[in-house]
């Protein structure tokens, strides 16, 4: 009983230390947390890792990997995101032929109207479904195209 009480009071004091440590160590703890767990923002929001870059002189095209990530395994449908950056030097219209799975074959043609922020997709690969959206981001423009999984 005595020991329990001692344990109780010590734990109670410890909570104040936890409280102080939470704020003082916030920065280092959060980096630790991410390092240890390897957490990332879900590719459904972030767009996924960048697979390749095409240099077009005044601007660059960034191809993300196709995202089908499910909770376990893969989903039947997903998307691929293409970024254009920096925004300041983009032409008014961009026409690109995109090979999203890097198999050497063109999968779709993208006509992106930068000014109106609209796009048209012509699919060459049956896995390419439709345009999912065009987005004006802080330092880039992004276009997402819906895909069917193999």
């Amino acid at each position: 009983m005595r020991l329990q009480a001692l344990f109780g009071y010590s734990a109670a004091v410890l909570t104040l230390i936890v409280a102080l440590a939470t704020f003082i160590g916030m920065n280092s703890f959060s980096h630790k947390l991410v390092d240890v767990t390897g957490l990332k923002i879900s590719p459904w929001f972030s767009g996924g890792e960048i697979l390749g870059t095409i240099d077009r002189g005044s601007y660059k095209i960034l191809k993300h990997r196709a995202v089908f990530d499910g909770l376990i395994g893969q989903k039947a449908e997903g998307f691929v995101q293409i970024d254009f950056s920096p925004t300041a030097d983009l032409p008014d219209r961009i026409n690109e032929k995109i090979d999203f799975d890097l198999d050497g074959k063109i999968d779709f043609a993208l006509e992106y109207d930068v000014v109106a922020n609209t796009a048209v997709i012509t699919a060459y690969n049956p896995r390419v479904l439709s345009l999912a959206g065009c987005y004006v981001l802080k330092e880039r423009r992004a276009v997402r195209v819906s895909l069917r999984n193999e």
């Binding site: 499910g70 909770l71 376990i72 395994g73």
Partner: protein, 212 residues
């Protein structure tokens, strides 16, 4: 596979809520130690699993039949989702009694419990496994979408695994008040999930209408 597991998880509390009134009085009345309870429980669960697998075969047959019936399968399933969601909501919020096959077992149960005590929980499980409670019907529909018998069996197996999680703590929890609060959670979860299935059903219907 995963879908089945998730469905099991999401409705497991409801399943427990429906089965608890059948299971707990028996567990509490019969078993003495936790180990004995666990043993009874595992026979009960085995019975349930058997019941589920029987249903997996049915679900597959029905799914195939539906396929030959119409090419607007999506719309049909959407429609059934909505119907079932309504049922689920009704069970969740209404004061209906347990639609569990094991409920109808009572008279017979007494005799059986006397003569074959070892078999009893197994049968009890089998009958609760064969019941027509709403989460189960949803699993039925979802499994019907599977193309092969193997998939259908797998689906029900994982559905079973999902719901089983809710039964594991049962031997420890089996005390009067907790059961009733658990029942409330189960019922309300059924109501909450019904809204989700209702919405999914609407989307399926909508998708079917657009594509046709």
């Amino acid at each position: 596979m995963l879908q089945g597991f998730l469905l099991g998880l999401s409705t497991g509390a409801t399943c427990l809520a429906y089965c608890a009134p059948v299971l707990f009085p028996y567990l509490l009345g019969e078993a003495k130690s936790i180990r004995q309870t666990a043993w009874t429980l595992s026979r009960f669960m085995l019975g349930r699993l058997l019941g589920y697998l029987v249903f997996a075969v049915f679900a597959w047959l029905t799914g195939n039949y539906l396929n030959t019936l119409t090419d607007r399968r999506e719309m049909l399933i959407g429609f059934i989702y909505i119907l079932l969601a309504t049922l689920l909501l009704w069970y969740g919020l209404g004061q209906t009694s347990v639609p569990c096959a094991a409920g109808s077992l009572r008279g017979f149960a007494a005799t059986l419990a006397q003569e074959r005590p070892a078999l009893f929980p197994l049968l009890l499980g089998l009958f609760t496994g064969l019941n027509l409670c709403p989460p189960f019907l949803l699993a039925f529909i979802a499994a019907g979408e599977n193309s092969t018998l193997g998939h259908s069996l797998l689906f029900f197996l994982s559905f079973f695994a999902g719901t089983a999680l809710f039964f594991l703590p049962a031997p420890l929890l089996g005390l009067g008040k907790n059961v009733s609060q658990l029942k409330n959670v189960g019922r309300l979860a059924a109501a909450v999930m019904s809204v989700y299935y209702f919405y999914s059903g609407l989307l399926l219907l909508w998708g079917g209408m657009i594509s046709s």
